[in-house]
Symmetry: C2
Subunit: 169 residues, 2 copies
């Protein structure tokens, strides 16, 4: 019915799911930024516009990458959650970040997370994926979550330091 795929190649099919300029950024913000709501996702570094965001969220939900639920705390809020297949992208995000850091003109504050994730290696990725499964899928987690908090703290340290430096200059 919906099988209008260009080919059955795994790489092609993957690109059909998130091979555009925005889908992976939304997923990035959910994974590393902990964002769950429309208005949060709208405040991306790159300035996605609301119609595109709405469209991509809809497609990602249709494709099983995300799920959408009502937020019990607010009748108009929707909560988006990562599905397992999206959590499984963490290693790819890690590689992608490492690759970008190595070959492209990244900024320091926006690549500190990528640096830590690269340094942490597969063990950190697994730990992080378990945290995400806990947050988004309700699975048990032993010990408190800490990976994203650590990444976030490192990011804020860099921002604070840069702010101090530019104040001096």
């Amino acid at each position: 019915m919906k099988d209008d795929h260009r080919s059955g190649c795994p790489i092609n099919l993957s690109l059909e799911v998130f091979g555009d300029k925005w889908s992976l950024l939304i997923i990035r913000d959910m994974i590393f930024g902990g964002k769950r709501h429309f208005r949060e996702l709208l405040r991306s570094q790159e300035g996605i516009s609301s119609n595109i965001l709405a469209d991509r969220l809809k497609m990602l939900v249709e494709q099983g990458m995300l799920t959408k639920a009502d937020d019990p705390t607010h009748k108009q809020k929707a909560i988006y959650s990562l599905a397992e297949m999206t959590i499984a992208l963490v290693p790819i995000m890690a590689h992608l970040g490492a690759w970008g850091r190595r070959y492209l003109p990244v900024s320091e504050e926006l690549s500190i997370r990528a640096e830590l994730i690269e340094a942490g290696g597969p063990e950190l990725w697994d730990r992080f994926m378990d945290e995400l499964r806990h947050e988004h899928l309700g699975l048990a987690l032993d010990g408190p979550p800490r990976v994203r908090a650590t990444l976030q703290a490192a990011y804020e340290d860099v921002v604070a330091r840069k702010s101090r430096e530019s104040a001096v200059a």
Copy 2:
């Protein structure tokens, strides 16, 4: 001058380079299909059209992902080569193929390569990357290249088997 990037985030910058529906397929065909010429790349599984192919090749060359040279055997032929930064995408391609194979409706013949690459693990990837460096960058390689040939043979086996099966049915 040309720094009109949406942000300095490594993932975003990576997407600005190959975050579209075609660039990675071109790279896939060069890496796994051994394609080097325009007309070869035009015969992709997915049917890229010539203007898009021309545009993407131009952009990939501009961004340093590929290099273009005259083919000594034919005055009108151009040879495209992978740059190191593109060879460095092999692990990402491997993960991407593995992910697609796990979560998307891939076809058997087009995913056999992904299966072998996943099974081979980082050691196979490194070996393959050395072969690519040999082919595209002229670096030394000890022993004969064999990874792509092995992948190709496996692909052809599946195609042959499927052809036999459908002949019976």
